[in-house]
């Protein structure tokens, strides 16, 4: 298996080949692989590829057993005395018996098995979530074979900012690679890679897409498997390769190859491209991550860049293939001769050096300042996730251990008898470990089901477009098996060793005392309950906050406005004329910048003082359409020449910030022009995240040529209908341009909804996790306590104690633990939420004492109910049964 075999036609399935190398003895691997390959080609000819693959796989699997070394070891046994034979039979019998006893025992303790399987299961879900984040980094670019990219290096530019900080960019000037290729020995070829956006359309389908640009060598240097078409197509400047997703989106079931896609770039450039290939889906954790790729020469054309341009700030990320990997450091040094040329052309940031790094050398988003490629996630998050998951798993395992010990109390006699009739200690240990392994395997099932729901919530919170379907399944299965093994050992080894150590005589006489609770176990259970309270408070809070967000007022008509992106005055006017007759449309306005969407910060001057404020360029009807309320003065009038030239409207927050009194007709200096304040409007909420106090705003009249957004107002109930009408109208008028529209409410709420939603599901998930862990924890504590006090309960009952008496007595200890947990939890929850909300800086409702108290009461009751039910079982038993046993 020295050469990596690709999974292409004419080649047998890769995994089956791997299977062969896995178990074949070294001396026969070569001939077996060779023979099978030859047969495979023969089968393709005689029976077709499908049948050939089937046969190959079948043979590879069948070869597993006979090739394994075991088989050759067993050979002599057949001619032996037969002793060995019967020995394996006994082993099988014993194994079967282990399983039988294990299943019987687990079935007898259903509630215990279910609680623990759920607890450990959810802990395993957390591990899966953490694994996903780890895998994103560890399997980054894995589908590029190491051998293929062995000699490929990426170029990094070292920059020095004006304040002295050093930054790393993973790009280089557009002109550098073509200059370096002939001038520096040792560079075999290069590819530049850039990402941009563009409008793409095919017939009536038009959307904005991410477009990547690369040199013709791109597909020679990097492997990207194709579904259809040919990589050679990329040698043509007017060819485009697209992802499977895009092919579906634009062509549906039609054959995409040879179709023409039209791309619109800025400067009204329109270029036609022929689809030359459809790319197979690759995991999102890769450097390039593109949906559509065309030749970089098109980018030069669109931006009218000369081939020797050193000055354009849109630098591509650049990759060199060297003749030998060892020469990288010396070539790095030689590249530095271009630094002066580059710095002469650009004066924004000072480059101080170029470095070549191997293509697969890991860099995270923290390391790189800017570039055109995707990067690994920051290591801090990984560490946090991994340690949290490990801690949760540890707690779950600890609970399982505790419960197992508690359950053993009933099985001491069983162990005693087993030992008397000759069981070795090893066999008892195996029995108990097996039971733990079965429970944890069940948990794994629970974990995998839960993961379908919770893992996407995690990844959306950290903006990682990566799912469990994307990770390498070999690694995943390996990790899961290791996890089950490790968790079983962790949870099961102590009870197994503990239970098997006693002498049978002691066991049968009943001389073994199971210890009750101790400070450590009580503290642990207390902390688990406190944690449950904390996360429940969080879950309840974010649920309530989600409702609040939906109903909160932004100070203008967020719920009535639809925005449509436009590119020019022409488009705006044509659209406006077309739709203004619709009676559902209350008002239409245009603007360069819309509040909540793309208003931007600028500096204005009043007298000698400078103030930072948000500004927006607006058109006619703007304030009326948005529903911003006038407080003083008048609105801007677009028809009025002087308003257009030097009028502005400010908001109340601006007045307060600058401390001006009687603001009407006051003069401010904006973009070196004097402007008069004609009116003051009430404050609105610009952004849910920035601050709770309103932000200052200045509005001016924009040139209609700069209109980017059209605002359309309608009644809330007509929103959807109006949007559909707008889309239909747009498609009719501009069939080749994408209709890009949003509801104002979605614009201002989308991020808040996403964050609140993710937190809500994570907290509620953690509540279920915390709840289950705590319940299993306190359940095992209660069981341990009862096991220790069975006799005492019997005696008390004989002397006339009622069931209620017994429950109250035994519950006292747990009530104290739970009360403490409720207190710690509610205070902790309150503080944690305050800290989190502070960190996210989001407008929110008060956390509130009352919900916190309710949450802790709720968790308290769950705890008490668990212990009471456990105790009830013991309290109900007839004292005769417990006392007679001596």
């Amino acid at each position: 298996m020295s050469d990596p075999v690709k999974d292409t036609p004419g080649h047998p399935p890769k995994w089956a080949e791997r299977l062969l190398t896995w178990s074949c003895p070294k001396e026969s691997i070569e001939e077996v692989q060779g023979d099978l390959l030859e047969l495979y080609h023969h089968w393709i000819e005689t029976e077709g590829e499908k049948e050939a693959r089937k046969k190959y796989v079948l043979n590879a699997i069948k070869l597993q057993k006979p090739l394994a070394k075991l088989a050759s070891i067993k050979l002599p046994n057949i001619s032996g005395t037969g002793n060995n034979h019967s020995h394996t039979k006994t082993d099988l019998f014993i194994l079967k018996n282990y399983f039988l006893v294990a299943f019987r025992n687990l079935r007898r303790n259903k509630s215990y098995v279910i609680i623990n399987a759920l607890g450990v299961g959810i802990a395993l879900t957390c591990c899966l979530a953490a694994y996903l984040v780890l895998a994103f980094n560890l399997e980054f670019d894995d589908f590029h074979a190491d051998k293929k990219v062995e000699r490929i290096f990426k170029i990094h530019t070292l920059l020095r900012e004006k304040d002295g900080t050093i930054l790393l960019d993973n790009n280089a000037p557009m002109a550098l690679p073509p200059f370096a290729l002939p001038q520096i020995a040792g560079i075999e070829r290069f590819t530049r890679y850039l990402r941009d956006r563009g409008y793409m359309h095919y017939r009536d389908k038009a959307f904005t897409e991410r477009i990547s640009f690369a040199d013709s060598t791109f597909f020679d240097m990097f492997d990207f498997p194709l579904l259809t078409g040919n990589h050679k197509a990329f040698k043509d400047k007017h060819s485009i390769l697209i992802s499977e997703k895009l092919a579906k989106k634009y062509f549906g079931d039609e054959e995409p190859i040879g179709k023409t896609l039209v791309l619109n770039f800025p400067n009204d450039m329109e270029v036609q491209f022929i689809v030359g290939g459809v790319l197979k889906k690759v995991p999102r954790n890769n450097t390039f991550n593109f949906d559509a790729i065309v030749r970089i020469e098109n980018f030069l054309d669109v931006h009218q860049l000369a081939i020797d341009n050193w000055s354009d700030p849109l630098d591509p990320s650049t990759f060199f293939e060297l003749t030998s990997a060892e020469s990288a450091p010396s070539i790095s040094k030689q590249l530095n001769k271009y630094i002066p040329i580059r710095n002469e052309a650009r004066n924004d940031e000072l480059a101080i050096g170029y470095q070549l790094e191997h293509f697969k050398t890991p860099f995270t988003i923290k390391d790189i300042h800017s570039g055109n490629t995707s990067l690994r996630a920051a290591n801090g998050i990984l560490l946090l996730f991994a340690s949290m998951a490990a801690m949760i798993l540890l707690i779950a395992c600890f609970n399982l251990t505790n419960t197992t010990i508690a359950m053993t109390a009933k099985r001491l006699k069983e162990i005693g008898i087993r030992k008397t009739i000759g069981a070795f200690r090893k066999q008892i240990v195996t029995q108990f470990l097996l039971e733990t392994i079965i429970t944890i395997t069940l948990s794994l099932g629970v974990g995998l089901v839960m993961a379908q729901w919770i893992v996407p919530a995690f990844s959306s919170l950290y903006n990682i477009p990566f799912t469990l379907a994307d990770v390498n399944s070999f690694h995943l299965v390996g990790t899961l098996v290791a996890l089950v093994f490790f968790a079983s050992l962790l949870a099961g080894i102590y009870p197994a060793l503990f239970n098997s150590k006693f002498k049978p005589v002691v066991l049968l006489k009943g001389g073994v005392k199971i210890k009750g609770t101790n400070v450590f176990t009580r503290t642990l259970v207390m902390l688990q309950f406190a944690l449950s309270v904390i996360v429940l408070i969080g879950g309840v809070f974010f649920t309530r906050n989600a409702e609040f967000q939906e109903s909160m007022s932004f100070g203008y008509d967020t719920k009535k406005i639809i925005t449509v992106n436009v590119q020019s005055e022409k488009e705006f006017e044509a659209m406006e004329n077309e739709i203004v007759s619709n009676s559902k449309i209350l008002s239409v306005s245009g603007s360069e910048n819309n509040i909540g969407h793309n208003s931007y910060e600028s500096t204005i001057q009043i007298g000698t003082r400078e103030y930072k404020t948000l500004i927006a360029g607006i058109g006619k009807n703007y304030f009326e359409t948005m529903g911003l309320k006038l407080s003083e003065g008048r609105f801007l009038n677009v028809a009025n020449e002087s308003d257009r030239k030097d009028g502005v409207i400010v908001n109340r927050a601006f007045v307060n910030k600058t401390g001006m009194k009687d603001p009407i007709d006051k003069v401010i200096l904006m973009r070196q022009t004097k402007r008069h304040i004609v009116g003051v409007i009430e404050n609105h909420v610009e952004d849910m995240f920035i601050s709770e106090s309103p932000q200052s705003f200045v509005f001016y009249i924009a040139d209609p040529a700069d209109y980017k957004i059209m605002e359309i107002k309608t009644e809330t109930k007509d929103l959807i209908e109006t949007r559909n009408y707008l889309e239909a109208t747009w498609k009719k008028m501009f069939p080749t341009r994408p209709f890009e529209s949003q509801f104002q409410e979605d614009i201002v709420l989308s991020d808040a909804r996403m964050i609140t939603g993710s937190f809500k599901s994570i907290f509620l998930f953690l509540t279920v996790l915390g709840g289950l862990l705590s319940v299993s924890g306190i359940f095992s504590l209660a069981s341990l306590n009862i096991a220790r006090r069975t006799k005492e309960i019997g005696v008390r009952k004989t002397f006339g104690a009622s069931i209620t008496n017994v429950i109250t007595l035994l519950n006292k200890e747990f009530a104290m633990i739970l009360a403490l947990a409720a207190m710690v939890g509610s205070i902790g929850g309150y503080l944690l939420l305050e800290a989190m909300l502070g960190a996210f800086n989001i407008i929110h409702i008060k956390v509130g004492i009352f919900p916190a108290v309710l949450c802790s009461l709720f968790i308290f009751s769950i705890g008490i109910i668990t212990t009471s039910v456990t105790i009830l079982k013991a309290a109900r038993t007839n004292p005769v049964d417990t006392l007679r046993s001596d």
């Binding site: 075999v5 070569e30 692989q33 099978l36 390959l37 047969l39 080609h41 069948k62 070869l63 006979p66």
Partner: protein, 112 residues
């Protein structure tokens, strides 16, 4: 009494096939020839395991050939029947002939 050689049916068939092929006997040719001659489809994995077993029993010996282009540069393992292998085949044949010769004449003619 001389040592007995036990040959399973498949073992015998494979030994005979190797003898038929002669110099060019390796995994692929053996399984293809076997299929052609018997009309039965026998898995390569079965053939391979049987070859290994026969070699362990000493009925076969093998050596690696030179590198070949069409197999991705992988070499072939050629098999040859050993003296013991021949003896085992011969003995099996003799046993059968002996038994055949003892079948009453009328059955030989009628039923076969």
């Amino acid at each position: 009494m001389m040592r007995r050689y036990y040959l399973g049916e498949l073992e015998e068939l494979i030994l005979l096939t190797i003898a038929v092929i002669g110099m060019d006997a390796y995994g692929v040719t053996i399984s293809q020839e076997l299929e052609r001659q018997t009309g039965r489809e026998i898995d390569f994995s079965t053939v391979h395991t049987t070859l290994k077993r026969l070699e362990e029993k000493g009925y076969l010996n093998s050596k690696m050939g030179g590198a070949t282009k069409e197999r991705g540069g992988r070499r072939k393992r050629f098999f040859k029947i050993t003296a013991i292998g021949y003896r085992a085949l011969r003995e099996s044949q003799e046993t059968r002939s002996k038994l055949w010769s003892q079948i009453p004449l009328q059955y030989q003619v009628k039923n076969i």
